[in-house]
């Protein structure tokens, strides 16, 4: 079974969070350790190289120490980005057999156009387990179509059609929200995505009468 787009995101997220927390904790703890260990206590002598008033700046040398640390952090960052590119190869390539839906955002709601010509406003139904490809645009201002529970987001820009796709294995109802400030109704620009069992979807979809 091909991975769902949600799983791809979640595994990437886990890697980033783990490494991010690890690096943050190590670096901040090391700093805290230095501060506590080297704080001014009675009897602690001034360092020999203390900059004296009126002196031009000098520097502490230690290129090696720094080089090693920067190479270490560079390794972490670059590997994270390489993982990202691998994930992108999947996320940026919608399967050819995807079910295709056109989405038009407007102030303040969502219109959906199905391949058979059926249109609906506010609610979109898709089958479970099937890749769905979205062609997203806007009829007025810059919006962003986001279904955060399904880790999905596409910019909706007037005069431009952007593509996103997803494959979902869990049925249910999900909020479609706008993630780009688009005016007074931005906060309530909420649509519904209904993920249905394929058989249920099929019977609903074939029963539609298109004018």
């Amino acid at each position: 079974m091909a991975a769902s787009t949600v799983e791809i995101f979640n595994s990437l997220w886990t890697v980033f969070v783990t490494l991010g927390v690890l690096v943050g904790v190590v670096v901040i703890s090391y700093m805290a350790y230095l501060v506590v260990r080297n704080r001014a206590r009675p009897g602690r002598p001034e360092p020999e190289d203390v900059p004296k008033p009126g002196e031009l700046p000098r520097e502490q040398r230690g290129a090696k120490k720094l080089l090693i640390s920067v190479i270490l952090s560079a390794t972490i960052v670059i590997s994270l980005i390489l993982i990202t590119f691998t994930a992108l190869d999947v996320l940026d390539r919608p399967p050819a057999d995807a079910f295709e839906v056109k989405v038009v955002a407007f102030q303040w709601g969502w219109k959906f156009y199905y391949p058979n010509g059926y249109e609906s406003t506010g609610e979109l139904r898709i089958p479970r387990g099937v890749p769905v490809k979205f062609y997203v645009t806007s009829q007025d201002v810059f919006h962003n179509m986001g279904i955060i529970d399904l880790r999905f987001k596409v910019d909706a820009i007037p005069g431009k059609t952007n593509i996103g796709w997803m494959r979902v294995y869990t049925t249910g109802v999900y909020d479609i929200r706008c993630f780009e400030l688009c005016g007074d109704g931005h906060g309530v620009m909420i649509g519904r995505l209904v993920v249905m069992e394929p058989e249920e979807f099929e019977s609903w979809y074939s029963s539609l009468t298109v004018s």
Binding site: G24, M31, Q60, V77, N144, N162, F179, E180, H186
Partner: protein, 775 residues
């Protein structure tokens, strides 16, 4: 003393007329704190709304206005001006200068900044101020917000960019040309170094913002279609705005990095670790900052290869930061760390910034950005960097230099209390927002499971706010009751501590110089024997007030604008005619501009920023033209004849202005007057011919709003024409003075500087002519 004494600090006249960099620094400080309070209260108001979903405490419009103005004020009118409050006060002291290179221009930057902010505040009381987010995305801000408050707010930003340009030129010239003898560029104290890099970024980033605002204002007020047409629209704005916007992030941060570096050295009693590496890293960041804007556009559907290129630059810019912050931390080894208030804030700010930096890597990953874009994760990330790294870092600087500015120590106890409240409040406010990463930004309505996180954040917001009250009380109380500070309370090594607190007018007793790396004071003040220096001028205030009135009229009553323009003309003449004496010290380190005098350097600096302004405007033209499916063929819409004649006329005028300079140098008054008059005539003919061309187009029904070819033509040639017009006004002034015999025996330089400007305007036309008429 060789300088006029300033009126006492209790005199209003002093504060309205001062040009002393220390006074101007105090003015910046007080004003930025005022805007901090306004923007902070706005934040508390919308945090209250967010304490529960669906509270109707604020209407959606009010909510959007609150978040927008909060962001704009904090970024443009609080953090940067606070940094420039410190820079104004400290940079001349750190380099051993008597003042900034152009004291009157410095006062002018302050007043322009103040009145820009006043315009933004006024827009609140008109019909709807900006309610579109600080990023002002299109076409929401152009076609879909027909409110007068948006215009006024936008014009306030335009006034701010004027302030920034004047100020950056001033700092560039000062830091290059007013250093004490022996203070090489590489030996600058870190704060001054960071300010230098900041102003260089500002110099080339803000013209992009100005260009964006000009196009936007033109769409809104004149009806051009840059952002309302889909070929330009959202993506064009994204490119322009983020070309400014991403360097702006580092502009906000860099002065704080300088504060951190200086305080780390002072309070850890050790030299900075890897000083040269830090400086190199900052230079690299400043350069790459202009190449990362696309990472704000990962989801807009830009080409995948372009996107990947921006990922690479984004990663490339994160590595110098690793070097900078690790060097900061390594400075602490084998140190004797004195945990005074400024040091506490520096350490706190570093820790917070590290979290902000790490989370930035998340956003640099396109795949994660697909999901995190537009969420609270982004909000948390940029508050950790800009508010935590920037603002909290600057608080360290404020405490650090407070004794220098006031001559008094603040209460260490209250300083620590504020530090604790800041750290608790800040992290309570923003850390939960990382955890609430599923929540969209800028919405008052959210799912119930996020209520606890939002409530913690709201409480944290009030704690963070309270921490500032402690600071205000501390700083005000200590002004009167603090212990006397003495010259160098921290035992620091940099130059600003080697004079009285607060320093006298002229800053030092004697002229500081570094001989063999040691500070000495040579002779008396360089001003001895010369003319008295001037420290007071009313014209900076008058010029700014006039610009303010003129802009306010644009959104209220055009008669007001007329009055403003009249006042502006009067003020320009007053400014130009005033005898204002400020001298550069004679001894000084000026590499690499030893042979370029300060006015020349200032003109070159200014013109280089104009290149970005026209570069963006011309790029916008190329962009929309490339994006358009059809475009009228050359010669069909715009008359090549008009363009060709104007090219000839303008190039000839470049020749005559050069001949005017040559005549003045050879002492020929008739030649000077004659060639200036010829230049004026050619320039006037250029504008007349332009008018004729425009009138013809309007006669044929081609107006600002007749599609992109017309919009881009009118706007680009209009902005260029405005530059020609400004040049003509200057020419009239030069000609009147030349008729009275000026520029012949001395003062040729004035004609030389004008020549640079005029040649530049001609060169811009050399790009416009083929781009608009021939291809």
């Amino acid at each position: 003393m060789g300088s006029h004494h300033l009126p006492p600090t209790s005199s209003l006249r002093r504060w309205l007329m001062t040009t002393d960099h220390k006074d101007v620094g105090i003015l910046y400080l007080v004003t930025s704190i005022y805007f901090l309070v306004v923007a902070g209260v706005l934040a508390l108001v919308f945090r209250l709304q967010l304490a529960e979903p669906g509270l109707n405490f604020l209407s959606p419009t009010a909510f959007n206005q609150a978040i927008t103005i909060h962001g704009l004020l904090m970024i443009l009118f609080v953090i940067s001006p606070l940094a420039f409050a410190l820079a104004n006060y400290v940079v001349p002291l750190q380099i051993g200068a008597r003042d900034l290179a152009f004291p009157r221009l410095n006062a002018l930057s302050y007043w322009l900044f103040l009145f820009g902010g006043v315009l933004v505040i006024i827009s609140f009381f008109q019909e709807r101020t900006l309610d579109v987010g600080w990023t002002m995305y299109q076409p929401l801000t152009s076609a879909f917000s027909p409110y007068v408050g948006v215009n006024t707010g936008g014009l306030g930003l335009a006034l701010l960019t004027a302030s920034v340009t004047v100020s950056t030129v001033n700092f560039v010239v000062t830091i290059f040309r007013s250093r004490a003898k022996g203070l090489r560029l590489t030996a600058l104290p870190m704060f001054t170094m960071s300010v230098l890099l900041t102003v260089l970024m500002m110099l080339y980033a803000f013209p992009a913002l100005l260009a964006g605002i000009i196009l936007l204002a033109s769409d809104r007020l004149l009806g051009t279609v840059y952002f309302t047409s889909p070929e330009g629209g959202a993506i064009l704005w994204d490119h322009i705005f983020w070309f400014f916007g991403h360097p702006e992030v580092y502009i906000v941060l860099f002065p704080a990095l300088g504060v951190m570096a200086d305080t780390l050295v002072t309070f850890s009693r050790r030299p900075l670790f890897g000083r040269r590496i830090i400086i190199s890293a900052m230079v690299i960041v400043a350069l790459i900052s202009f190449l990362v804007w696309g990472h704000h556009m990962f989801l807009t559907g830009i080409h995948p290869d372009v996107r990947r290129a921006f990922v690479v630059t984004t990663i490339a810019i994160s590595l110098p930061f690793d070097a900078i912050f690790l060097s900061f931390i390594y400075t602490l080894s084998k140190a004797k760390i004195e945990l005074r208030t400024p040091m506490l804030f520096t350490l706190g700010s570093i820790a917070i910034f590290i979290i902000g930096g790490i989370t930035g890597v998340f956003l640099g990953s396109i795949a994660l950005d697909y999901v995190l874009r537009g969420t609270y994760f982004v909000v948390a990330h940029f508050h950790y960097t800009m508010a935590g790294g920037g603002l909290v870092g600057l608080i360290a600087g404020l405490y650090y230099w407070y004794p220098k500015m006031t001559g008094r120590m603040f209460s260490e106890k209250l300083g620590r209390l504020q530090f604790i409240l800041t750290m608790i409040g800040f992290n309570m406010l923003y850390f939960p927002l990382f955890l609430a990463w599923e929540m969209p930004r800028r919405v008052p309505l959210y799912v119930e499971s996020l209520i606890p996180l939002n409530q913690v954040a709201t409480i944290g917001g009030f704690v963070f706010g309270a921490s500032f009250l402690v600071m205000f009380w501390n700083l005000l109380y200590s002004l009167k009751y603090g212990e006397p500070a003495g010259e160098n309370p921290w035992g620091a090594h940099t130059l600003e501590w080697m004079t009285k607190s607060p320093p006298p007018s002229g800053n030092f007793e004697g002229t500081p110089a570094f001989v063999d790396g040691r500070l000495t004071f040579v002779a008396a003040n360089g001003a001895a024997g010369g003319e008295m220096e001037t420290h007071l001028s009313i014209w900076p205030l008058m010029l700014s007030l006039a610009s303010f009135v003129a802009l306010l009229g644009l959104t209220t009553n055009i008669l007001v604008t007329t009055a403003g323009l009249g006042l502006l003309a009067f003020s320009v003449l007053g400014f130009a005619g005033e005898r204002f004496i400020s001298r550069e010290g004679e001894l000084g380190e000026r590499w690499p501009f030893d042979r370029v005098d300060r006015m020349k350097l200032a003109w070159w600096t200014f013109i280089s920023s104009e290149i970005v302004l026209f570069g963006v405007i011309l790029s916008a033209y190329v962009y929309v033209r490339t994006a358009s499916a059809t475009w009228p063929a050359p010669g069909t819409l715009f008359d090549i004849g008009h363009g060709a004649v104007n090219t000839f006329v303008l190039l000839t005028s470049s020749l005559t202005v050069a001949l005017a300079l040559a005549s003045s140098r050879s002492g020929s008054r008739a030649g000077t007057v004659g060639f200036l008059a010829a230049t004026l005539a050619l320039g006037a003919f250029f504008l007349f011919n332009k008018y004729d061309e425009w009138a013809e187009l309007f006669g044929h029904g081609v107006t600002f709003s007749s599609g992109l070819p017309a919009s881009t033509f009118f706007l680009t040639t209009g902005i260029h024409g405005a530059h020609v017009f400004a040049g003509l006004l200057a020419l009239v002034y030069l000609l009147v003075r030349a008729l009275r015999g000026a520029y012949v025996r001395d003062g040729h330089e004035t004609l030389e500087y004008f020549g640079y400007y005029w040649h530049f305007v001609d060169i811009v036309w050399v790009f416009i002519f083929p781009l608009f008429y021939l291809v």
